[in-house]
């Protein structure tokens, strides 16, 4: 039986399935946590579909990917999706990370929020997944704008899903920052539409390369790329625009933190990569000097994110600030402005979307043992009460530091290798080294604290359900899988990047 049509339709079906799931979830009865289970089921179907698409594209004789017209009309007139190896791998990883974050924190949401809100939370999770997949697959810049907005609203909503003063304030701040970003992105899209007359990426690129050759409209092009980048950088928390992130990720419930840090940021970052690669082209970007700006901001994010993380005493805020640093790594790879650098950045997207949800889930599991306290000194000795969470936290910390055999090493290795081919090598290596040191400085005390048998001997062991342990151990297994066998994955991504443009 020929299953090619499934692979061919996967990009559309996976987005459509999640949106349809979101639409019908509000009328599913709330008993037995059906809405959440339904959403898990849909994400699981998506994992299978995306996995098959990766397999299909990786084994296809010429894996250049395909364009998928949404509707009856071909490309410059209708909307279009594009699925290549890179998009498929990222979609698979996003679905896996989303699934594991939801199942890993399945026990926690019951304690935190009411049944009514849990139903709406699962609607929002479905919408976020749909938006992420759409941002991954889309080939149309205006579709991307619409789904960025879905992403923004749903992300703010899952921050505010538990109603406390802190979450409301954090969500509002996040909302305002995101909306500034959206406004700037919309202006940039208007400019680009005025200059090119197209909204589909490959046609825009043809037109832009013509414009660059003739030397017309240099300033508008520069302004539009600057606006697009800064708008998306605000949304993906690049360093000078990142001060909303620790509030939003540190205050919300565990599942929200895991999804926001691991996935929502990545959708926007991947869109930047897409815009650079498919709308402007790397040569135009380097002619406009955007790559240097991105590189410098990435280095600043790596250092400053770690420095801020050093000051934190709340474990969730510590992990949130470390996200800022990790976003910096991705932008550093992007700023190298070579295919190999972007492949390394994509590998880091993959690694970080698996590590960050694991860290947040395990931190949630640990703080659950200490009576929902999130201060580091209250977590003393919690390792002995929840060994899976403790192990996961250690594995995550080692990954973040970049110890060999852990996943974080893979992407740091790839980034360093990529930087050797660039003339910015010294700065890149210096930033990577310094940040590894800083990561060690703030993660090792956190790890030591959870081992310390101290004043907290009177804590009682709370039994967590099987879903938590299974998800955590799958996270750990994936981490080691990537850390030990990252060469095939990197090859896959490099192939994907080479046909991406």
């Amino acid at each position: 039986m020929n299953l090619d049509f499934i692979a061919y339709n996967t990009p559309f079906i996976s987005i459509f399935l999640m949106m349809a799931a979101a639409i019908i979830t509000p009328i599913i009865p709330q008993e037995k946590r059906l809405p959440e289970k339904f959403s898990c089921l849909c994400i699981f179907i998506n994992i299978i579909l995306s996995g098959y698409l990766v397999y299909f594209l990786a084994t296809a004789p010429e894996n250049i990917g395909f364009n998928y017209p949404v509707g009856h009309f071909p490309a410059p007139w209708g909307n279009e999706l594009r699925a290549g190896l890179l998009e498929a791998v990222l979609a698979l990883i996003f679905c896996v990370a989303m699934f594991l974050s939801v199942t890993g924190n399945f026990y926690d949401t019951v304690n935190e929020i009411s049944a009514r809100r849990r139903q709406i939370l699962s609607v929002l999770i479905n919408l976020l997944t749909a938006a992420l997949l759409a941002l991954t697959y889309t080939n149309d810049i205006f579709t991307a704008y619409v789904f960025i907005e879905i992403n923004t609203i749903a992300a703010c909503a899952i921050v505010a899903v538990k109603e406390t003063g802190g979450t409301i304030r954090a969500a509002l701040r996040y909302m305002v920052m995101s909306l500034v970003g959206s406004g700037i992105i919309l202006l940039s899209i208007c400019l680009l539409y005025g200059l090119t007359g197209h909204l589909l990426m490959q046609y825009m690129r043809l037109k832009i390369s013509e414009l660059v050759k003739t030397g017309m409209y240099d300033l508008p092009l520069l302004v539009s790329v600057a606006f697009m980048t800064s708008g998306l950088a605000v949304k993906s928390a690049l360093y000078p625009f990142c001060f909303w992130l620790p509030d939003a990720h540190g205050n919300s419930i565990n599942v929200s933190s895991a999804i926001l840090s691991g996935l929502v940021l990545k959708g926007h970052i991947f869109l930047i990569i897409k815009v650079f690669f498919r709308v402007f082209g790397l040569d135009v970007i380097s002619a406009l000097r955007m790559d240097i700006v991105i590189f410098i901001l990435g280095c600043a994010a790596i250092i400053m994110g770690s420095v801020h993380a050093l000051k934190q005493s709340n474990i969730k805020r510590l992990i949130a600030w470390s996200s800022v640093a990790q976003v910096g790594y991705i932008f550093l790879g992007l700023g190298l402005n070579s295919e190999i650098g972007i492949a390394a950045a994509c590998l880091h997207i993959v690694v970080h979307s698996l590590i960050k949800p694991m860290l947040f889930t395990s931190a949630g599991g640990l703080s659950n043992m200490a009576g929902h306290n999130k201060n580091l000194h209250d977590l003393a000795g919690t390792f002995y009460l929840n060994k899976s969470a403790g192990t996961a936290f250690i594995v995550g910390a080692c990954s973040m530091i970049g110890i060999p055999a852990f996943a974080g090493f893979a992407s740091k290795f790839a980034l360093t290798a990529a930087s050797f081919e660039s003339n910015l090598m010294i700065f890149a290596v210096a930033a990577l080294g310094a940040s590894s040191l800083l990561n060690a400085l703030y993660y090792i005390p956190a790890v030591l604290v959870i081992f310390a048998r101290g004043k907290n001997n009177n804590l009682e062991k709370i039994k967590l359900p099987l879903s938590f342990h299974v998800s955590i151990w799958i996270f750990i297994a994936l981490n080691f899988l990537i850390g030990l066998a990252f060469i095939p994955l990197l090859n896959l991504i490099t192939k994907g990047v080479s046909v991406f443009g």
């Binding site: 009856h72 709406i120 919408l127 909503a157 409209y217």
Partner: protein
Amino acid sequence: MNDEIKIIWLKFFNWVMGNGPRPENEIIPPELPPDLPFTRTPDKKHSRFHEITISERLIQWLSLHGLHVFANFYNILSIIVCLLIIALMLMTVADLPPFGDFHNPANNEVVERYIKAGARETGAENIVAGMILDYRAFDTFGESAVLFTGAITVLMILGTSVKKDKSELKRLHLKTHSGFEDRNFLAFAPSLHIYRDDDAILRGVASLSIPVIIIMGCVVIISGHLTPGGGFSGGAILSTALILCANAYGFIKVHEFFSERTFIVSSSSALSIYALAKGYSFLTGANHINSGIPIGTIGDIFSAGLILPLNICVGIVVAGTLYGFYALFSEGEI
């Protein structure tokens, strides 16, 4: 012996401490003026006559006004940034293709096909409706999803929070207006819409205009593919009818036929129909299968394939959502 030693010790001790009798030949130094800088350095901070140095003044002043200075600095900086952005954008605009020129890059083959073949391919007389609901329908589907996301989020934030006991307040409000001594009631009074029975003007106008508004909204929705309008504008008009009804007759009256459950079920099912119809069309289109949806003759009410049912679905969602926003903001529930 012991006593002598003791006395000597005592004298010595007193001498050391400085409160014993002085030796006769001791020269008493003249009393120095207290603020000669090279003989004695007075403790600056505690001296009454100490002059505050500039750095100290700065620190003092900053501790008093630091936040203020920062705010001013921030304000000035943001004004400068805004002016710079405006200047940059104005330079950009001056560089853009001229306004209203038909040689502009935006007027290309895409627009040409929308205008030339739009009516033939989509069956819609309104080219914009044909474009957003057929050529670029995926965007519009996403757009409805944005509205749905917004509605569900506002419902979550305002509609499901733990509130003070509202049924008590409702009872108070229904009974009389004599409950004004109750502080609780006063706190909620502005958000409770006290309806007077004698508000005859509002009710009279509402009873006359609501049917007209509803007819107007339906016309705008149904003829969305023929004239300017469509689901979004028509739905907004319908929602004003609901809002007017709520203001004239009370939210409780509207609640009888439009409750939160109605809102959720109607929005979800309308969007599901939208998703099913469009999903069928997208899938058949992408796999190059003829969808078999009739286009009809241009200019008829029943034409343009899926556009009419889609407009109706969108109209239902928009009407419910906008009324829902109003009700949630003013009442805290639908």
